[in-house]
């Protein structure tokens, strides 16, 4: 079934304790190449049938209202998932 993907990330200026904890752990397992980590959310909305413009619009609406908290998060992507992109 086709899927619409919604990515939500903490706003850049907002503290991201989760990313911070991961960034602290990476060097301890020997991975020292990264300057920072941020952790966000990825939602996959399954569509029964074809992805119409109206459904994409619904997904955008869901992203802005239910799936993200606009005070602390940005919706960074609302897109139909390509098949090979899994």
């Amino acid at each position: 079934m086709p899927r619409i993907v919604v990515d939500v990330m903490p706003k850049p200026e907002i503290l991201d304790p989760q990313g911070k904890a991961i960034a602290g752990a990476l060097p301890r397992i020997g991975l020292t190449g990264f300057a920072g980590v941020r952790q966000g959310k990825r939602f996959e909305l399954t569509v029964d049938g074809e992805v119409t413009d109206e459904l994409l619009e619904q997904a955008r609406h869901a992203a802005a209202t239910l799936l993200s908290n606009p005070v602390i998060e940005d919706v960074t992507r609302v897109e139909v998932l390509e098949e090979d992109d899994q």
Partner: protein
């Protein structure tokens, strides 16, 4: 432009300020009044630099300077007698008061508000509220041991209420649970007056040895000043980004976060690391960073110590490198602390930081110059007398006047029109009361809080007070309860404050502890409204008077003003927390009976006092006078309850307050699911009231207790000796499975429990 060049260019230095007196500064945008800005210029003898302006504007804000409330709050100090000071190790004015509880142990506790941030972003607002109050407790040198959360929401069925309830409860739990602090009590009240202004008050308690008390002062010239914990970001300076103009460059200020996000893990680590610092005696003075961040910490530490400090601000570790000096000074990033360390202890300090992987940076040192000097890359950007920042802010005698509407409200008694509010069926009335938003079971909320962690919780929800053990050897411990009744305060703010204190005091005594000290969080509308200001003035006067009469001092607290939307203020809501002490928490009295055949006694008398009651509230009525208060009776009742617990004369006790005897009996029966047979005739006859009034009136200085048969004589003798009215009203019945009020109704506990439990899940699950 790279961060590095932004950081160097066009910083407004003291030298610059001296040579450009005409430079206009955004003082109004920063919330200063014209007279306040002029005062700053007078103090400095020149215009302030951008960084100085940042410091004065945050430190002279209502929140930090208490400029509207100060003249009234003085009464808490003035009305304290020497006897009341007996147990006070640290009084009002420090981060939190410290109370001696014996055996060399001390307790510190305080309640604070995080109302507005919790409306904007409920989860983070409530979470950082817990974080802030816990840092106050640590900064006294104490290990935090418990939290409580008095909450007020709008109408339970308002469309916005579920958002706030879900977010706020999850935020309090999310932060407190992660810190390993048991939540041992609080309040959940719904009333449409709090619709746009929910109240999120958070209380924390900490434990320490007398010799471990730490104060927020910087003494010893040459000692080092260190900032540690989280990095500094642009948190809490949203409105203040006008300060970007201080750097006079044209690039747009980068975005500043609208809300602060808490990091409970960072705070948990900070707690452990501070306790290690204290244990190793590595810090001389310590201050948490809350409102006004580094501005507050540097100016308070300096002015409470030898009076001088020299700081290099570029040493501050930043999360956002684009911050300007003024923004760094104002930032309210969470999970930070500032400490003063002797040069000899620097290595020991660093070792502890490294062990816990906590970041730190040495900012500068203590001086004896009487000046707070802050430099930016070697250039002086702040040169002030720290006292003028921290302690000599503006003080206002705001006009106040008794509201013109109050006479009308007070004349509109519920009792007078009682026929309309009097139920035909008492059984249904009790069920309706116990299912109502304010009287229903709060388990849906409290089940989201850890009440077990630390292994010292002797009583928690739903008992009258939270009780934690302090010393495992002796069982020494403390009890705390918080209470407020906004409706009583609306009807009469002076009496309302006294009633709030009386209820918290009674709750603590009901658990068996001796009440010792008070903290308060005064939640009000705008002080610029003379009627609100009058409510505030009356509240403080009432609370200070009642503290004096009961002999328990206020040790600290918080004022939250401007809780209003449009022209409509919340009810005056003075949340009062009372702390009591137990020699041994094994003596604590739970709020429910269990043993078959025990006698049930009602202590105190009941009058026709339904104005402002929960029952009147259910009928949509708010008018008349709150119940009469007799503090001498409250004292006697408390002494009886404490003695009974000490001498093992009672097995259960519950104070009567909101919802009266109906609520008290229902809660006692539901506590362990054990029924009782109750007779009201004698009480009605003695007090000259009917059964409805006996059940629903909210007369004060009352409690219900269950007494083992073998103790009845002793119990009665003690009450008689103290001349306190007591009446046997029934007996515990482990067989009937019901609350049986003879001659009126029998309420199976299953039915009662279902009604009591269903309300919050129905609205929020």
């Amino acid at each position: 432009m790279t961060a590095e060049t932004t950081r160097k260019f066009n910083i407004d230095t003291v030298a610059n300020a001296e040579t450009t007196p005409g430079q206009s500064l955004p003082w109004a945008e920063l919330g200063l009044k014209e007279n306040e800005y002029q005062r700053v210029e007078e103090i400095l003898g020149r215009r302030p630099t951008g960084a100085e302006l940042a410091m004065y504007s945050v430190m002279w804000s209502e929140h930090c300077s208490y400029k509207s409330s100060k003249v009234h709050l003085r009464q808490f100090g003035e009305k304290v007698t020497d006897a009341m000071k007996e147990h006070l190790l640290v009084g009002i004015g420090e981060n939190a008061g410290v109370v001696d509880i014996g055996d060399g142990w001390a307790v510190t506790f305080k309640v604070e508000s995080h109302n507005h941030p919790s409306f904007v972003e409920p989860y983070q607002g409530a979470a950082t509220g817990v974080g802030g109050i816990v840092r106050d407790i640590i900064s006294m040198g104490a290990r935090p041991v418990a939290v409580m959360d008095p909450l007020r929401f709008g109408a339970i069925d308002h469309p916005d209420t579920a958002r706030l309830v879900h977010g706020i409860v999850a935020g309090i739990g999310g932060y407190g649970n992660s810190l390993g602090l048991p939540n041992i009590g609080g309040e959940v009240v719904f009333d449409s007056v709090y619709q746009g202004n929910p109240l999120v008050n958070a209380l924390a308690v900490g434990v320490l040895r007398h010799e471990d008390i730490r104060l927020a002062n910087a003494s010893g010239a040459g000692n080092k000043v260190v900032l540690f914990g989280a990095r500094t970001g642009g948190d809490g300076i949203g409105g203040a980004s006008v300060l970007a103009s201080e750097s006079f460059d044209s690039s747009k200020p980068s975005k500043r976060p609208a809300v602060q996000v808490g990091d409970p893990f960072a705070e948990k680590v900070l707690i452990e690391c501070c306790l290690e610092l204290f244990k190793a005696s590595v810090v001389e003075g310590i201050q948490d960073l809350g409102a006004a961040g580094i501005s507050c910490a540097t100016s308070e530490l300096a002015s409470n110590g030898d009076g001088g400090m020299h700081v290099e601000l570029t040493n501050v570790l930043l999360r956002d490198p684009s911050l300007t000096p003024g923004e760094i000074l104002m930032s309210e990033s969470q999970e930070r602390m500032m400490a003063v360390v002797t040069p000899e202890n620097m290595a020991a300090f660093e070792a502890i930081m490294d062990k816990w992987a906590v970041e730190y940076s040495w900012l500068g040192e203590v001086t004896d110059t009487g000046r707070l000097i802050i430099e930016w890359d070697g250039e002086k950007i702040v040169d002030v007398d720290p006292r003028t920042v921290a302690h000599e802010g503006p003080v206002y005698e705001r006009p106040y006047s008794r509201p013109v509407w109050l006479d009308g409200v007070q004349a509109d008694a519920f009792t007078g029109s009682a026929a309309a509010g009097r139920p035909a069926d008492l059984r249904e009335a009790v069920l309706e009361l116990m299912a109502s938003p304010n009287m229903c079971a709060k388990d849906w909320v409290t089940d989201q809080y850890d009440r077990y962690v630390q292994g010292n919780t002797a009583l928690a929800m739903p008992d009258d007070a939270g009780v934690v053990r302090v010393d495992e050897e002796t069982g020494l411990g403390v009890a705390i309860s918080t209470d407020a009744n906004g409706r009583y305060s609306y009807l009469d703010p002076y009496e309302g404050a006294r009633l709030a204190l009386a209820e918290a005091y009674r709750n603590v005594a009901t658990s068996g502890a001796v009440p010792l000290a008070v903290t308060d969080c005064l939640n009000f509308g705008s002080p610029e409204d003379p009627e609100v200001m009058w409510q505030f003035a009356e509240t403080v006067r009432g609370l200070a008077d009642a503290c004096q009469e009961l002999g328990v001092p206020v040790t600290g607290g918080n004022v939250s003003l401007y809780n209003q939307t449009g022209g409509v203020a919340i009810h005056p809501t003075p949340v009062v927390g009372v702390l009591g002490v137990f020699d041994d928490v094994a003596r604590r009295t739970p709020s429910g009976w269990r043993e078959d055949g025990q006698a049930i006694y009602l202590l105190g008398t009941t009058a026709d006092e339904l104005d402002g009651s929960e029952w009147a509230n259910l009928r949509g009525h708010l008018g008349g006078q709150p119940p009469a208060l007799d503090l001498a009776a409250e004292k006697t009742l408390a002494a009886i309850l404490v003695n009974c617990s000490r001498d093992g004369m009672i097995d259960a006790a519950h104070d009567l307050s909101e919802g009266g005897l109906a609520a008290g009996l229902s809660e006692m029966a539901l506590r362990f699911g054990v029924g009782a047979r109750i007779g009201l005739d004698e009480v009605c006859e003695r007090d000259g009231i009917d059964a409805f009034t006996a059940l629903f009136s909210e007369s004060q200085a009352r409690a219900v207790v269950s007494v083992p048969r073998s103790e009845e004589v002793r119990f009665n003798d003690m009450c008689t000796a103290r001349n306190f009215p007591t009446m046997r009203i029934g007996v515990v019945d482990t067989e009937n499975g019901a609350l049986d009020v003879q001659g009126h109704f029998t309420l199976p506990l299953g039915v009662l429990r279902e009604a009591h439990q269903a309300t919050l899940p129905r609205h929020f699950a």
